[in-house]
């Protein structure tokens, strides 16, 4: 679900988005679309 949402909404792979998010690349400029996807991220991934 999370993987599909990353591709559908952000046009990037789940692993790529997770890596960037966890690295803090989006701090201060996260978008509503990112929040929509992030809510689907499984615990621990």
């Amino acid at each position: 679900m999370y993987d599909r949402a990353c591709l559908r909404v952000l046009s990037m792979s789940a692993s790529s988005f997770s890596e960037r998010w966890d690295a803090g690349e989006y701090v201060g400029h996260a978008t509503p679309e990112m929040m929509e996807v992030l809510a689907l991220r499984p615990h621990g991934r």
Partner: protein, 164 residues
């Protein structure tokens, strides 16, 4: 499930919950988190994701309680463009810890503060925008029951008049 009852008044689909384990946070989603068409000529769509944790209620008779930790409700036009988003995601963005809305219809990404929003509130808005419940009497019963149920268990954000 109360949320399934509300959603089924407006659309076909399934609510799924990812966790029944108190040690694992879960997500409750409608139709896999994808926007789903609502009944009515306006053909609005709704996206619904609720993040939750299962916590000790402290009540021996009913030891576990589902505690909402965030939500994303999206109301979209028939063409898939956003009308309004209701968000609360305090863990992901501690700098925006309050419930808020994004006025997507106007292309606005600002965080307008709101009170706590239930998915039922979004359906009330959807009706104003042209969605039609399949059975209005049933919808009124579900709305009343869900608000009362919410008021009994919620620890914050219960502003509805039905709170005892």
């Amino acid at each position: 499930m109360p949320i399934q009852a509300a959603l089924s008044c407006f659309a076909n689909g399934k609510v799924t919950a990812s966790s029944t384990d108190p040690s694992v946070p879960g997500q409750l989603v409608f139709n896999g988190g994808r926007p789903t068409k609502l009944n009515g000529p306006s053909r609005l769509r709704l996206g619904c994701t609720i993040e939750y944790a299962i916590v000790d209620s402290g009540q021996p008779a009913k030891p576990w309680k589902v505690h909402t930790t965030g939500y994303i409700f999206r109301l979209l036009k028939s063409n898939g463009s956003g009308l309004v988003d209701f968000h609360w995601h305090p863990t992901a963005t501690p700098e925006v810890s309050f419930p808020h809305l994004h006025a997507r219809e106007y292309g606005c990404k600002r965080h307008y503060p709101t009170g706590r929003v239930m998915v039922e509130d979004v359906f009330v808005l959807a009706i104003e925008c042209g969605a039609i419940p399949g059975d209005r009497a049933k919808w009124q019963r579900v709305l009343k029951a869900n608000r009362e149920n919410f008021a009994l268990g919620a620890t914050w954000g219960t502003s509805h008049p039905s709170r005892p």
